[in-house]
């Protein structure tokens, strides 16, 4: 018998690797260009997410409406119906990362694949069921475990910030040894990437990702086999696919190489045990077979259900998901808006926002000032890793609406710049116990100077401040016109009282909420309605004071 590996399948395998690299590079490219690059409007950099049926289905169920862009996910579903989980094996960028590292770990003998692998493939199906059932009850947790969200978030919040710090240290070294011209060109390169380098929880989000990658030491493509809910969903859709594995028993030497090296534990040998819903069509089995016995003919044969899901466990998972919903809602965030929960401009009302946000971190990547940070507790447990404007780290740039443009699910409604500048995301307050003019009597108008609205929301008034020696100083001190303030937070960001700024923004007054409002705003509206010129006059008067 001729011992020869299949040329055809080795070629297909090579094509698959090219495809994986290509899609990963596309994902990566779209990731790196998601920042301000001289234009007010950014293109469709978030498109990758729209092909993800898991995000599409879960957010649509939770939000009770389909976001139009998710139509593209239908394409993935159709492909999966016909060709099985080919998207997992040929397209998914996270899958490619896992496969790459599995390969590395195999080569370094950290991972020694065995022919008997009985780990439960059903976990991911239960996870999927849990997510979908909780979505029915408006609890949207899909973003935490969706592979694209997970990868994007890990890159944006964990890995790239680490890269930025590493680069910064390296640049410092270059300049210290007087290689300034090399330093300058590298600096230019990194400026072009516009990396945000500061993230709360960046360490943990990065650590989770590294942990998931390290799981590949235990099993090849661990995440894809046991955890990925998108893989599970595509597995369910793949039941009627036409590509079926067949082993030519004449040629087969029962070496089990195919099963040992199967990336996703689909057990190609023997072929009646092959689980079509687990197969990602990497064609490793067909390419590795020393006798060219494995092939994938087109066979519309009866479906083989891959994994046995016990009815009891399904019921239990569903019950667990139902029980989880009220459990997640114990948090006070549902009762009263958190003052620190300043959402990006265009964010839907909190309840709706949480139903849509998939915690992908795309907005955090796009933010030019690094203002958007992943939430920890501010939005309750279900709002973990959702974006929060954190003025101490960055402020909301007045003429920028990038975060709203890149949001893949419409949790942040897309805004034109001229719409964005009218959106109020919070209100600034002066802490007179810390403010320099109020406490020390010294001049400081930094917050007023930075206030971007016209007329300015921060006015200056002359105040009297008693000095320790009994004398009185009369500096100008900031007073806030809450009606004009949009809550951008530049005042808090630039306040010279650095540790705990003397001016700070809280979420109250945000336009998106009907409850988190200032009563005063309603009262104030009255005179304006009667005399629209009055406010104008008042502002001009303040302006005139400068002279």
């Amino acid at each position: 018998m001729k011992k020869e590996r299949s040329k055809k399948y080795r070629l297909i395998q090579a094509l698959r690797i090219v495809s994986q690299a290509g899609f990963f590079l596309l994902f990566f490219y779209l990731f790196t260009v998601t920042h301000y690059s001289g234009k007010d409007y950014i293109g469709q950099v978030e498109t990758f997410f729209h092909f993800d049926p898991l995000l599409a289905i879960a957010t649509s169920i939770a939000f009770r409406a389909v976001f139009v862009a998710f139509i593209l996910a239908a394409l993935t579903i159709v492909v999966t119906f016909v060709l099985g989980r080919i998207v997992c094996g040929w397209v998914c960028p996270l899958g490619s990362i896992h496969q790459f590292f599995s390969f590395i770990f195999k080569r370094t003998k950290l991972l020694k694949p065995k022919d008997k692998q009985n780990s439960p493939l059903s976990w991911k199906y239960y996870l999927l069921i849990f997510i979908l059932i909780s979505s029915i009850f408006t609890l949207d947790l899909v973003g935490i475990v969706d592979p694209l969200s997970l990868l994007y978030r890990s890159l944006a919040v964990g890995l790239f910030p680490a890269l930025a710090h590493g680069a910064s240290a390296f640049l410092g070294f270059l300049y210290s040894i007087r290689l300034s011209s090399l330093g300058d060109s590298l600096t230019q390169f990194f400026e072009g990437l516009a990396l945000n380098s500061t993230f709360r929880q960046g360490f943990f989000i990065g650590l989770i990702f590294i942990g998931i990658v390290l799981l590949n030491i235990s099993r090849e493509r661990f995440w894809c086999r046991y955890l990925c809910p998108l893989g599970a969903l595509l597995g369910l859709f793949s039941r009627w696919n036409v590509l079926k594995l067949k082993i030519d028993s004449q040629k087969c030497t029962k070496c089990k190489l195919c099963t040992i090296h199967c990336q996703t534990q689909a057990t190609p040998f023997p072929d009646e045990s092959w689980k079509s819903a687990e197969c990602v069509y990497c064609f490793t089995c067909a390419a590795i077979c020393p006798t060219n016995a494995v092939s994938f003919p087109l066979l519309p044969s009866p479906p083989k259900m891959a994994v046995d899901l016990s009815r009891r466990k399904l019921l239990l998972t569903s019950l667990l998901a139902v029980a989880a919903v009220p459990f997640f809602r114990i948090s006070p965030s549902t009762k009263r808006a958190s003052p620190k929960l300043i959402r990006p401009p265009g964010a839907l009302p909190e309840e709706k926002f949480l139903q849509k946000c998939v915690k992908c971190g795309e907005c955090m990547k796009a933010c030019p000032t690094n203002a958007l940070q992943p939430a920890l507790g501010e939005a309750g447990p279900e709002g973990i890793w959702t974006p929060v404007v954190t003025p101490k780290i960055g402020y909301c740039e007045y003429y920028c609406s990038l975060c709203s443009q890149v949001c893949p699910t419409g949790a942040i409604k897309e805004l034109r710049v001229e719409e964005k500048i009218k959106v109020k995301i919070g209100t600034a307050w002066v802490n007179k116990n810390r403010c320099i003019p109020y406490t020390l009597g010294n001049p400081c108008i930094v917050c007023e100077e930075h206030c971007p609205t016209s007329p300015k929301a921060i006015k200056l008034v002359k105040i009297e401040v008693l000095q320790p020696d009994g004398t009185i100083k009369t500096p100008l001190a900031p007073v806030i016109d809450t009606e004009l303030c949009i809550g951008c937070g530049i005042c808090e960001n630039k306040c010279p009282v650095v540790d705990d700024p003397a001016i700070y923004v809280t979420s109250v007054g945000e336009s998106r909420s009907e409850r988190n409002r200032l009563l005063l705003e309603l009262i104030k509206q009255e005179p304006d309605k009667k005399d629209p010129d009055e406010r104008k006059k008042r502002n001009e008067k303040t302006d005139a004071n400068f002279f």
């Binding site: 400026e191 003429y399 920028c400 010294n442 400081c444 108008i445 930094v446 100077e449 400068f546």
Partner: protein, 312 residues
């Protein structure tokens, strides 16, 4: 020296009666004086202290202003590295008059290169996100088009320098400004709620790093210390469109006023003093100008200055 040239103006009046012999004699005398003191012509006293040019084109009035001061060769020598410091502080467009007019900057880049500068750098340390400021002010594109380098502020180029000021003894300064042969300051005239106006001397807050927001507690002194340190060879105040309220950022077109003017001169204190008059402010009423004048950094009494005003 001033008298010498004043006498020359009297012979201009009597030019018709001048004889050829006298003329030759004058030339001989002039040549002799130049032999003794070659710097004589380099003295800028023959040119006005300040020029104020008005006109429709920002580029044209800038070029005209420099020409009236004797041309860019008076300030820039062949092979010089010139740094031009506009105000690119804010994420605002030229119509909002928060940043220097890009055409004014562009004209200065062209003139500097025309005068033989080896390299022209245009940079600022903006307050809003730097890429946005560089792009939306229009300055980066305009300056690059004219052939300037427009680097972003690089924190690794900051170095603590001895400013030897009254208040600021030392501060972090971008080395581009220290290493350049010539510094040209191109501020825009705007209101400011603390220094009342921000023009040339306040513009130096954009050439430094560190906690700039702490300088406001003694802003006037900080401005003087910084201006005395940087010592621009030329200051061109962009008053094409000035910001008359809601400074230093403005926002609405109604916050601005179209003056179609530039002021240029070597005396940076005098340039700011001239600028103050655009806002109907007496230079004497601006503490920073008064103190700078007392310290001998420049003139604020505009009547003492030879000012050339023209419309083109």
């Amino acid at each position: 020296m001033r008298e010498l040239w004043n006498t020359s103006s009297h012979w201009e009046k009597d030019k018709t009666e001048m004889k050829r012999r006298d003329f030759l004699k004058d030339i001989a005398l002039g040549t002799f004086l130049l032999e003794l003191n070659p710097d004589l012509l380099a003295q800028k006293k023959n040119f006005p202290d300040l020029v104020l040019i008005q006109g429709d084109s920002p580029a044209l009035i800038t070029k005209e202003a420099i020409a009236s001061l004797g041309g860019m060769k008076q300030f820039v020598s062949k092979g010089d590295v010139v740094i031009i410091k506009p105000n690119i502080g804010w994420d605002r467009t030229p119509e909002q008059a928060a940043c220097t007019n890009p055409e004014v900057v562009k004209a200065l880049v062209e003139l500097s290169l025309g005068a033989g500068a080896k390299e022209v750098i245009v940079m600022d340390n903006p307050i809003n996100q730097f890429q946005r400021c560089y792009v939306r002010s229009g300055i980066a594109a305009a300056a690059k088009e004219a052939g300037a380098k427009v680097p972003f502020p690089n924190p690794y180029h900051l170095k603590k320098m001895a400013l030897k000021g009254e208040w600021l003894k030392e501060w972090e300064v971008f080395m581009e400004f220290v290493e350049a042969d010539k510094i040209i300051n191109v501020p825009i005239a705007k209101t400011h709620s603390l220094s009342r106006l921000t023009m040339g001397m306040k513009n130096w807050l954009g050439a430094i790093g560190g906690s700039r927001n702490q300088l406001h507690q003694k802003l006037d002194q900080a401005m003087i210390d910084l201006a005395a340190f940087f010592k621009p060879c030329l200051t061109v105040l962009d008053a094409y469109r000035i910001l008359i309220r809601n400074g230093p950022q403005g926002g609405r077109p109604s916050d601005t006023k179209l003056l179609k003017t530039v002021v240029a001169g070597c005396d940076y204190v005098a340039v700011d003093a001239m600028g103050a008059t655009f806002f109907d402010i007496n230079p004497q009423d601006l503490p920073y100008l008064r103190i700078a004048n007392q310290k001998g950094l420049g003139e604020i009494n505009l009547e003492k200055l030879h000012i050339e005003k023209r419309t083109v």
